[in-house]
């Protein structure tokens, strides 16, 4: 290595190049590592969604939760059994609700009615509600897609 000003400049340039290379590697490695870190929402498809604790539901009560980008109706019937359906009316897609006094799932748009099993019993709805799977785990109610 030549000494003196030329050597010093050469040294400086080598350091500059080295520094540039290191910065480059860092600028590439950082996004790569972040990329490989799994994000908070774990999965591409909606797996199981929690509808709350089992004791939040008295008998003959219901709750509407967000299931992916659609509403789901979770019903606990008179006998204490949990049932879940997509809360989308099969007539014209309005959001349905549970009416505990009549033990019926009701659609306010055109007075369509479904029983507690989601079967269409009165009014315009042509088909039963889409069923969802219910799993009780550690006193929590989990809703997932029927396979």
């Amino acid at each position: 290595m030549a000494a003196g000003p030329v050597g010093g400049r050469r040294n400086f340039l080598n350091w500059l190049l080295g520094g540039g290379a290191v910065t480059f590697m860092a600028a590439v490695t950082y996004p790569m590592l972040k990329f490989l870190t799994p994000p908070l929402t774990q999965d591409a498809s909606v797996e199981a969604v929690s509808a709350g604790k089992t004791d939040e539901f008295t008998n003959n009560s219901s709750k509407i939760i967000k299931f992916g980008n659609r509403p789901a109706l979770v019903v606990r019937d008179q006998k204490g059994e949990f049932k879940a359906y997509l809360a989308i009316c099969t007539h014209l897609d309005c959001t349905v609700q549970y009416v505990p006094e009549d033990q019926v799932i009701w659609c306010a748009c055109h007075n369509g009615k479904y029983d507690v099993n989601g079967i269409n019993i009165s009014g315009p709805p042509p088909r039963p509600l889409t069923s969802l799977k219910v799993n009780l785990q550690d006193d929590e109610v989990f809703i997932s897609e029927e396979t």
Partner: protein
């Protein structure tokens, strides 16, 4: 700082004793690259290589989250670009770099053609390069289907339809390519295996051959330089001059890709639906456009044969001639007047590709 250098030297020495790294470095140090006005074209080969490496790295990263299958391809990609940190960046770099790589490969090929670098003794380099070109197209075609969106689905349908029009073996070829009679999840599976395993394997080997030949034979001299007396033939050392310039080019290419990724992001589109009607104006990727447009413009029948078939035959025969170019071109570089014809042919081909691509986009 000094102890660091000592450790580095020790490590280097240990490896050198076993593999003679010094020998390689001295070879590289002595390697010279012709320095002329034509030298700018030399970089396109290197950039193509760089972009291939970018593809490999981003492709491997994408593999971490991408899940092939008609029910998961689109969804996993959606997840990747919306939830994963820098997912959008990896995906966009991969998509843009693919296009840029095809472009650079074209430029590289035509620059080699016009500089007549394919002459003796570099015939194998040219032919291995042609294989790489085909591999690049296949990479592009197979990769394009993987997002499983509407555009990809129909572009693949139209593209693979061509395979079926070949006489005699057409149906067999179609079924082989599609994994069935229609484009389905089976096609996706095949294309995926092709894109991430088969093609990278073959490409690595052919690329190694191509680079080995290049290093062994050195860069060819442009003909203008060949006519000069030896002491006037300017050269530059491969290491560090050429390499430094090459790296600059590579960084520049990366900057271009980053810019494109941010300002011209690739859309997700809508998920492929086999039963939906084809959206209007389906066209293939730009590097297939000239072929697509030509075939569209041919009359339904030329003589007794279907127009499309004639077109395909002409393309295939032309490609074959192009592949074996170094073996039948005896005129370039000999000063023969026929050499000019070859150059003219090249200009005509480039012109045809450019014009048909432009027409293809103009009519859509």
């Amino acid at each position: 700082m000094l102890p660091l250098k000592k450790h580095y030297d020790q490590l280097y020495g240990w490896v050198n004793d076993r593999v003679d790294v010094d020998g390689i470095i001295s070879f590289l140090k002595h390697k010279e690259v012709p320095a002329s006005s034509a030298s700018i074209w030399y970089y396109f080969g290197g950039v193509s290589l760089f972009l291939f490496m970018v593809q490999a790295v981003t492709g491997i990263l994408l593999l971490v989250y991408y899940r092939p299958g008609p029910d998961s391809s689109f969804e996993s990609l959606k997840f990747l670009v919306s939830e994963v940190h820098f997912g959008w960046l990896v995906r966009d770099i991969h998509s843009w770099s693919a296009n840029l790589m095809v472009f650079c490969v074209f430029v590289h090929m035509f620059s080699v053609f016009f500089l007549k670098s394919y002459r003796n003794p570099r015939e194998m380099t040219w032919m291995s390069g042609m294989v790489l070109l085909i591999l690049t197209f296949t990479f592009g075609f197979s990769g394009y289907l993987l997002p499983w969106n509407e555009l990809a689905f129909f572009a693949t349908k139209v593209g693979t339809d061509m395979a079926g029009s070949v006489p005699v073996i057409g149906d067999f070829m179609l079924t082989l390519v599609r994994g069935g009679s229609d484009v389905t999840g089976a096609t996706l599976g095949r294309f995926f295996g092709l894109h991430v395993a088969i093609l990278p394997g073959i490409t690595t080997m052919v690329l190694a051959l191509h680079l080995f030949l290049l290093q062994r034979q050195g860069m060819s001299k442009p003909m203008s330089m060949e006519n000069l007396p030896p002491d006037q033939q300017k050269v530059m050392p491969f290491l560090p001059n050429f390499v430094l310039r090459e790296f600059m080019f590579w960084m520049f290419a990366l900057a271009v890709i980053n810019f494109l990724a941010v300002f011209f992001p690739w859309e997700l589109g809508s998920k492929a639906d086999a039963f939906a009607p084809a959206p209007a104006g389906i066209k293939p990727e730009w590097y297939f456009m000239f072929m697509f447009q030509t075939l569209k413009m041919l009359p339904a029948h030329i003589g007794p044969i279907e127009g499309e078939l004639v077109g395909l035959a002409v393309f295939n025969l032309g490609a074959l001639a192009w592949f074996f170019l170094p073996l039948w071109d005896k005129w370039s570089g000999t000063g023969s007047p026929k050499a000019g014809l070859i150059t003219l042919m090249g200009i005509a081909i480039v012109g045809f590709i450019v014009i048909m691509t432009a027409v293809g986009y103009a009519v859509s």
